[in-house]
Assembly symmetry: C2
């Protein structure tokens, strides 16, 4: 079949060059400018072709350097290079902004409390020490209530002592922030909601990571905002060059980005990409909504947030304790930059205030160093659980690709490839969305790839979590999943 | 000055008839139909004139009966008739729907935690027994956490056991509801927000009580909905005849109504008005958003909600524990009728889930009868505090008008009258909005009347709360307020 579009022609030319080892693995391709001149093509067309090859795992984008031919390592865990994100190429083209329609499947997964657990089994074990100490702090805060405290709503911005503790944490991560610049929310999702409500109007275009957090897609749908998907590596995060192309093409109001150990793959956005992103935000008058929720799960150093480099109040930092401490606290925060006054008003209007004793208990837990101790224990545990999962996956047949994050709670697993565009090494096509009910029947709850995309991409991928201990039942569930993926579930 | 409009002409004719005792106090005016025929006027014009007289305290609307000449009792506490709601007449005409712009003042009042307290002084006394027992229940729920409970989000709809307890309460109030028809929220404001989000689109017209809850006005502003104000008695609630006129004139999507002890005046919507409202909702395809938050504070019988008569799923019942138990719980609920599925999704999208241990603690508190005991004690106390306030107000100079509610936390106080339309017995004009900073300088925080209106009506009124014990400092603050109102603060 003859390629119809100019980018497809270039893509095929480059593909041949790679196959014929004109550019062996590890070498740099000609620069975008050179390719434009050689082929008499626009920059957008060249970038498009390169991104399609990158998406097929054949190229790697190295920010501020260029595109390199992939090594395609057999075991990405042992490699420092990016695991091939062999996303079906025809799906990864940059689509125009679109309305979002989130799958009903998500509600089902949430109702099963299974977002981060392929086998939701509540252990009856004792709580980890961090949670015991947290609960004691909450209990003390309850017992310290006096007089008619219960008859007053808290300051809508939140308890000053808690905001002070959070400000100190952010100051240690390079942010020049005071407690006045923070507002307490009912979790990170609530913070993201406030950020989008404050910065966007119905119909506005919002750039999102693809694959990226489904909660953001749901918010866009709810607020009737349009999504434009930015190709995103599950190792190095959002492709800022692609974002630039998008910004030149469409009027984007805001960009939601998770630079630290983003779901689904645990990517960490490199330093230079961060600066490039902020520069673009300045040039294109963009609101940056930073989802910082996984930062504190870092296995090594907790990275500074984008907010630390935010000189013009464009970054709205959103976070919560749900990933690093407890999902049941329902306590998050936002630092809204130039939108902060609006956000405070929105918090008040949609919720009045947060619970004072709850904030007091958490503030005490932070102030006495218990949170820091908890994080140390939890990091060690998460790292072990990740290693155990990587070790199992590396034994799986079919050599699936997976990310190997240095933080977060999950990795991205790609299975087989798409047959609609003949792949390099043809495999069976797997549709993880179609696999969901089948897996469920086998007692395994998967989180299918398309949940992480506004356009239903990533049918061949799932997110696999290592948030929970690999008990014997969970190991068995993983084993059943492996059989399912290699068994009947092809189309 | 010669009246410009036909309704003004009728108003003056009727006024003369009342003054000349053509219709003595207590007698019924000719019916709307008769007045239409006699004066060759439309129904809307006649209703408008009657409502203006009603608003000036000269007439009383008795649902399904007609308009009666008021007795204007000297002490409304001792009277069963409605205290005169001497709202400035030119402001109470039925205005066209309008965008809402809530005063910054409200934020200030909220930041001072003063919405229900003219002198926010935290007592260092012991907690009331109900709160001690509640806190113990929450502490027990925390200690009962096991295993990795903290690693799972709760069902977005909320803990089944809590929903079951709430469903049982509503069943006892005549509702045919199961726990599946309830969704837990972060308070009643959050429930109202979800109800409006689910039933309205930007630009839609929403009918609200005037005076009514400021939180609703803020929501309308935030969601870019238009408000149309329905004249509302602080004794008998929303004027459903006026609502009918409005529904005939404008395309109203939803109506927010608080039938049980509504803020600001503590009105209770009579039975026949309730049925009339539901009939209108059916005829005009209206969503009814019922704010039920004050019902459990009833001094006598807790009235059945509108929801109990809702045969077609048009009523969204919204409530929380903030008025009847604790402002600090931040726990509410909604039963969303035909919009319930959307509401569940919205709850999930904006907040994921609620805290499980918190819900468990409250469910235990409900299940063992502690809530019922708490309500008994609280009702006795609130009733005493109301009586003490009424007793003080009846001694105030200038014979101000005030409501005497049988539930809720506050009453409505009207001071002087408006001079723009010459009143019956001319008094000084008081602007409570202008008075706010002056009162603040004297250590008194008032809740000015205009906060309760989208059009800035009720400048001569304030809401006075009896939610707090009348300690010596609060009595002194009330005394200072009385002096201010009768002293320098005229215009």
């Amino acid at each position: 079949m003859k390629p119809d579009f100019r980018y497809q022609q270039l893509e095929q030319t480059l593909l041949q060059g790679i196959e014929q080892q004109r550019w062996p693995p590890g070498t740099r391709l000609p620069s975008i400018r050179t390719l434009c001149q050689q082929h008499q093509l626009s920059k957008a067309t060249v970038v498009h072709a390169l991104q399609r090859l990158e998406a097929r795992g054949l190229l790697e984008a190295r920010p501020k350097s260029g595109y390199y031919v992939s090594h395609r390592p057999a075991n990405p865990r042992l490699s420092n290079t990016r695991p091939a994100t062999s996303v079906p190429a025809p799906q990864l083209k940059i689509d125009a902004p679109r309305a979002v329609n989130v799958s009903e499947l998500f509600l089902d997964i949430m109702r099963r409390s299974a977002a981060f657990d392929l086998l939701p089994e509540r252990s009856s074990d004792d709580l980890p020490p961090g949670i015991v100490i947290l609960n004691r702090a909450l209990g003390r805060a309850l017992r310290r209530q006096r007089g008619d405290d219960f008859q007053y709503y808290d300051d809508p911005a939140g308890l000053p002592m808690l905001r002070e503790q959070l400000a100190q944490q952010l100051q240690r991560r390079g942010c020049n922030l005071t407690n006045e610049q923070l507002c307490i929310t009912s979790g990170c999702q609530h913070a993201l909601f406030l950020a989008l409500m404050a910065s966007c109007q119905k119909g506005d275009v919002v750039a999102v990571e693809a694959p990226g957090f489904y909660g953001v897609l749901q918010l866009l749908q709810q607020l009737q905002l349009q999504a434009v998907e930015v190709p995103t590596s599950t190792t190095t995060g959002m492709d800022i060059d692609a974002l630039e192309v998008i910004l030149q093409r469409w009027p984007v109001r805001a960009c939601v980005v998770a630079p630290a150990f983003a779901t689904p793959g645990g990517a960490l956005l490199p330093d230079n990409a961060r600066q490039q992103l902020l520069n673009l935000a300045e040039q294109h008058n963009l609101a940056i909504i930073e989802d910082d929720i996984y930062a504190d799960t870092a296995f090594n150093r907790v990275p500074d947030p984008l907010k630390a480099r935010d000189l013009s109040g464009r970054v709205m930092l959103c976070s919560s304790f749900s990933k690093s401490l407890s999902r049941d606290l329902r306590l998050g925060w936002i630092s809204g930059g130039r939108w902060h006054a609006d956000i405070l008003r929105l918090k008040l209007v949609t919720q009045l205030a947060s619970s004072r004793y709850l904030q007091q208990g958490v503030a005490d837990f932070l102030a006495d160093g218990s949170y820091a101790s908890h994080l140390r224990r939890q990091r060690y545990q998460l790292r072990q659980q990740r290693d155990q999962l990587l070790s199992v996956l590396s034994q799986w047949p079919g050599a699936p690709q997976f990310s190997a994050p240095d933080g977060g709670l999950a990795l991205w697993l790609e299975l087989g490839t798409d047959t609609t565009n003949p792949p390099h090494s043809p495999k069976r096509q797997i549709n993880t969305l179609a696999l969901y009910p089948e897996a469920l029947a086998h007692g395994v709850i998967i989180t299918p790839g398309p949940l992480f995309s506004a356009s239903g991409q990533f049918t061949n991928a799932i997110r696999l979590s290592f948030a929970h201990a690999w008990t014997a039942p969970r190991r068995a569930a993983l084993q059943r999943l492996s059989l399912l993926l290699n068994g009947s579930s092809t189309e």
